[in-house]
Amino acid sequence: MSLLTTIFGRLIKAVLTLLAIAVLNFFLIHAAPGDPAAVIAGEAGAADPLFIAQLRERFGLDQPLYVQLWSYVKNVLTLDLGYSFRQGMPVYDLIADRLPATLLLTLSSFVISLSLGIAFGVAAAARVGKASDSILTTIALLFYATPLYWAALMAVLVFSVQLGWLPGFGYETVGSGYSGLQRTWDILQHLILPALTLGLFFMAVYMRMTRASMLEVSQMDFVKTARAKGLSGAVIRRRHILRNALLPVVTLAGLQAGQLIGGAVLTETVFAWPGIGRLMFESLEARDYNTILGVFLVSAAMVILFNILTDIVYRLVDPRIGAKS
């Protein structure tokens, strides 16, 4: 199967999945408590019956359900995610405004957790059974059980409040007037704690997987052959074991990356990071269902997009994957 047909197939599947999520969203909106028109009227500050009836007509809420579903899906396809009366803005604009911060956070978190996880996993596997291996595995076990938001709060407490090393709040220093390199450096400092704490759990996952995968591959025959050829331990580890051990880790990492988006709601809440996760939290407090469901749809779309991207990358890196399926 050529790369192009694969991408095409994946895109069709992605569109179908998004459509299904849009339909799910539609029914969730209808399941939300209260008549949408009454809710809107209440939020707009007027609740007389005439106004509600007008609203109902304007938003097509007096139409049969299937007509409403069709117009909802049509709206979603044209990126119209409804209006947030609480924020006085279309939901799409709200999200577009916040999305870059979330992308920056989740992508850096993914890179950090994957690279650190693999590095620690390799280190632990190389020292299997020794004290340093047990220490690394125990730390991973602890991270694996730590609530994300609690780790974030404790990091703020230690590194921001007690030590004063890093800012524990926001995206950049407000009113600093930084620009260019200075601003990048400022944002980077604000990024460290959220990105690290969001990646902590996944770092533990990737470390355990790398360690297990390294140990498994090191038992294989071709490793014995390499050893019999007289290659040094370090060369075998790097060129023979690691290369073969990484594939399952990276595959699963690509699939799990979507969960980072969910975690971002918690991290962004703790750090007041101005992304879509924080937007979701604010909308929860305001019971702003249009925005909640809009963020939900966009985060699902991001996950799907990311899965397609990783899939393409693997096919380019490892031709065997395309040949197998």
Binding site: T17, L28, L141, W150, L157, E216
Partner: protein, 279 residues
């Protein structure tokens, strides 16, 4: 070696079991230890831990006893973790079993459905469900079950697919047993051990999910939970660290205990894998 002996040789698993037993005991005895309940204001707010008799962990922003909150919060964590896992098994096991056993269109349909739920970021879906259904103990449990069943379905499907090719299944067919009977009484009992391992890890994940939802303010407003305690103390982290620290530690230890038990069970069920090097 018997199963329990193998389990007992795993130090981590035994520690986990002891920890979990302690948490269960605390949860069961909560009304005895603090009969006044977790909501009562007992002293002035922001009392520092270890400074006042009878209030070992201090008081919170409203002068409530933090230790009482912890003890009562154990109940909701364990309850939601357990019930949502059972519900997830009730969805995932039948779906996976039917898909694996019948194959073909049934399998195709069931797996598309499962894949769909795996694509959706599960914490985001849980948030949406609880927000729409309104936060109650029931809706939280249901939402966690809805986002946790897909891995179960996949596991059971894979197990059933490999088991159904075994000779004892052919023998059952020859003996004239019906398909459903073979699936339920011959195939599934052989898939129980991996399901138990997965279930113990799922309880841990469910506890984390429940606490995360409560942290965001999506907990049942009538029930004290660890996540709620941390969420309520989030804004005062600079002045009152203990309000977030102790509930988080409680979650960490409970989840750790369940993970250790899960790994111990896995090793005890698969002794041949254990020898090759633990993962």
């Amino acid at each position: 070696m018997t199963f329990w002996k193998r389990f007992a040789t795993n130090r981590g698993a035994v520690i986990g079991l002891v920890l979990l037993a302690a948490v269960i005991a605390i949860a069961l005895l909560a009304p005895v230890i603090y009969p006044g309940g977790p909501w009562k204001m007992v002293q002035r707010p922001f009392l520092v831990p270890f400074t006042t008799d009878g209030l070992p962990l201090g008081t919170d922003t409203l002068g409530r006893n933090v230790a009482a909150g912890l003890v009562h919060g154990a109940r909701v964590s364990l309850l939601v973790g357990l019930v949502s896992t059972v519900m997830a098994l009730l969805i995932g096991v039948p779906l996976g079993a039917l898909a694996g056993f019948y194959g073909g269109y049934v399998d195709e349909g069931a797996m598309r459905f499962t894949e769909f739920f795996q694509t959706i970021p599960n914490f985001a879906l849980a948030i949406v469900l609880v927000a729409i259904l309104q936060p109650t103990l029931g809706s939280i449990t249901l939402a966690i079950a809805i986002v946790s069943w897909p891995p179960v379905a996949r596991l059971v499907r894979a197990e059933v697919m490999s088991l159904k090719r075994r000779e004892f299944v052919d023998a059952a067919h020859l003996a004239g047993l019906s398909n459903i009977r073979i699936l339920v009484s011959e195939v599934l009992p052989n898939a129980v051990s991996p399901i138990i391992v997965m279930a113990s890890l799922m309880v841990a994940t469910a506890i984390l999910l429940e606490s995360s939802l409560s942290f965001l303010g999506l907990g049942d407003p009538n029930i004290m939970s660890w996540g709620y305690m941390i969420g309520a103390a989030r804004t005062v982290i600079r002045s009152a660290w203990w309000l977030s620290f102790f509930p988080g530690l409680a979650i960490l230890l409970t989840v750790l205990a369940l993970n250790l038990i899960g790994e111990g069970l896995n090793d005890a069920f698969n002794p041949h894998l254990t020898k090759k090097g633990r993962t």
